[in-house]
């Protein structure tokens, strides 16, 4: 074991890094869903073949989401730092990084949600309409509950993507495993640290993936 690794373990930097990565990922995902879930549902519902078509709104949302989705995260991250400063009060540290992660992840989440909700059987929606359900009721009682297993799978994919983003945030002042591998590994030519961060990230991803898929399977009544 190298001296560096010993040092990182002794002063708790590695453990803190794991915690920071997990915490940034989950908090960012939470806020990204808070914004992205309604946005994704709106994209689906206001579309031409949706339950409440609003062509202009659907068009605007679609373009906005596409714009944000097409900017590479590393560039978007730097570009939205002023916004992070405005919202979080600082452009450095994990709080600022959470703001940039949420801005980057929301459009991604919206697309994931949109595609899940689109999968809901048109016949079931029609049945709800025939019962006199309003569009709002259809969203809350039909679209979201019926799409739940697919939404859960989408959330797993989103979490893993956000975790990847959070590592990049390590280059501009965020914490976590990304920062450790860059600061202590890459910049100090210590490959061992880099690889340890890689392995730790893989383990975190595996846990999220496995737990999420299990949850999706267990709560899907179509296979119960």
């Amino acid at each position: 074991m190298s001296e560096m690794l010993q040092k990182l373990l002794d002063n708790g930097i590695l453990i803190l890094g794991i915690w920071e990565t997990v915490y940034m990922t989950f908090i960012s995902a939470f806020f990204a869903y808070l914004l992205g879930l309604p946005l994704g549902v709106l994209l689906c519902v206001t579309a031409k073949d949706g339950i409440r078509p609003i062509p202009w709104l659907s068009r605007i949302l679609d373009i906005l989401v596409n714009i944000f989705r097409s900017i590479p995260f590393i560039i978007l991250m730097v570009a939205v730092l002023p916004a992070a400063k405005l919202i979080a009060g600082t452009s450095l540290g994990n709080r600022a990084m959470i703001v940039t992660l949420v801005i980057a992840a929301t459009p991604y989440v919206a697309r994931m949600v949109e595609s899940s909700v689109k999968e809901v059987d048109k016949g079931v929606i029609e049945a709800a309409q025939s019962m006199g359900a309003s569009p709002f009721r259809i969203i809350t009682r039909v679209l979201i509950p019926e799409a739940r297993p697919s939404l859960t799978v989408g959330a797993v994919i989103s979490l893993v993507t956000i975790l990847g983003y959070s590592a990049m945030a390590g280059t501009i002042g965020g914490g976590g495993l990304g920062m450790i591998s860059i600061t202590y590994g890459y910049q100090r030519f210590n490959n061992e640290i880099v690889w340890i961060c890689v392995v730790l990230t893989i383990i975190i991803v595996q846990i999220i993936q496995e737990a999420g898929m299990r949850l999706a399977r267990k709560t899907d009544r179509r296979t119960a």
């Binding site: 059987d121 016949g123 079931v124 029609e126 049945a127 709800a128 309409q129 025939s130 019962m131 006199g132 359900a133 309003s134 009721r137 009682r141 039909v142 509950p145 019926e146 739940r148 297993p149 899907d220 009544r221 179509r222 296979t223 119960a224």
Partner: protein, 343 residues
């Protein structure tokens, strides 16, 4: 009463306009089971969706109990839909909800208090014979059971009307029969006016009181099932009523006629008398009798002798005895599949 006045519906597609319905006039009386039959693509599914405005007609009026649907605002329309239950070919149950919660769904929408809703849902599950399945999920049920759940769900808000869109088309014959019996029972016991869309004549003659035949976006004929069955005027109606005779092959022989039985004369040995008194050999190509609405109806398709004089004798006999018949084709070239009809 459901009145459809001059209903037309056109869809705009990339290839241009497509007319699904053209000037449809229909009225469905309270308490009856009204059938709409047509081949696929005839427009019947669009028509049934106009009744609850799932499809808004391009022109014309839908009037339900005196209310013109086009004049209602969104809220009024949603309220009115609660009075019209609907079931579908694909059942359309909520897959992530239990059977009981599926039946509770329309009651949630209607804002019925929970305990009252539960009691109502259980009562309906009992009616459709699925009390023991209330905590199952749809994926654990058979097709027939799913349709029963869908029926219970459609009936939960006590609707006056029930629309059935090809409700038995995905089911096997045995299950179809039991679902049709259930629909008929609901009509009789609860007085629910029912509209049945189908491409299957068996559905029509086992439960419907009146029927409209649709072909190519229009209604070609309309009447009691007995009337339409006895004397189908349109090509489509003939095709639907006599599906067994669709297979034709070239066999030499005489003219084919369709002998129609209704009421009293279905119990007299008409064919035997006919053969005995005319002394002519007749080939029975197809025969069936059916109990419709408590009365016996039937039809027999006969192939007349190739000899013109013998054939004329048979026709004279039929006319003299007041029997209804229609000539199916000119004979010689097109004759029904004899092997199928031999029995």
């Amino acid at each position: 009463m459901i009145e459809l006045k001059n209903i037309s519906k056109t869809f705009k597609t990339k290839k241009g306009e497509f007319t699904a319905l053209r000037d449809i006039d229909l009225s469905i009386r309270d308490g009856e089971i009204f059938g709409i039959i047509g081949l696929s693509g005839a427009g019947k599914s669009t028509l049934v969706r106009c009744i609850n405005y799932l499809e808004k007609p391009t022109s014309g009026q839908v009037i339900i109990d005196g209310k013109e649907l086009g004049s209602l605002n969104k809220k009024e329309l949603l309220a009115l839909r609660r009075n019209i239950g609907m079931i579908f070919q694909g059942f359309n149950l909520l897959e992530q909800r239990t059977v009981l919660k599926n039946v509770l769904f329309p009651l949630e929408i209607a804002g019925v208090p929970k305990d009252k809703a539960r009691a109502k849902a259980r009562e309906l599950l009992e009616l459709v014979g699925l009390s023991d399945k209330e905590s199952s999920y749809p994926s654990q049920l058979s097709g027939g059971q799913k349709q029963r759940v869908a029926i219970a769900r459609a009936l939960a808000p006590n609707p006056k009307y029930l629309l059935c869109d090809e409700a038995t088309s995905a089911l096997d014959p045995e299950t179809t029969r039991s679902i049709l019996e259930l629909i008929r029972r609901i009509n009789r016991e609860l007085g629910v006016t029912t509209v049945v869309i189908t491409h299957d004549m068996k559905v029509i003659d086992s439960i419907c009181d009146r029927v409209a035949v649709m072909d190519n976006s229009i209604v070609t004929e309309i009447g009691t099932v007995a009337e339409v069955f006895a004397d189908p005027k349109s090509e489509t109606a003939r095709k639907l009523i006599l599906p067994e005779l669709k297979l034709v092959e070239t066999v030499s022989g005489g003219e084919r006629i369709r002998l129609i039985f209704s009421g009293e004369n279905s119990f007299t040995p008409v064919v035997s008398n006919l053969i005995l008194s005319c002394g002519a050999p007749l080939n029975i190509l197809y025969a069936r009798t059916k109990d419709i609405d408590g009365r016996a109806y039937g039809e027999i398709v006969l192939q007349l002798p190739a000899d013109i004089r013998a054939a004329a004798k048979v026709k004279n006999y039929l006319e003299a005895h007041g029997l209804t018949y229609s000539v199916l084709d000119g004979g010689e070239s097109h004759v029904g599949d004899a092997s199928e009809a031999a029995g």
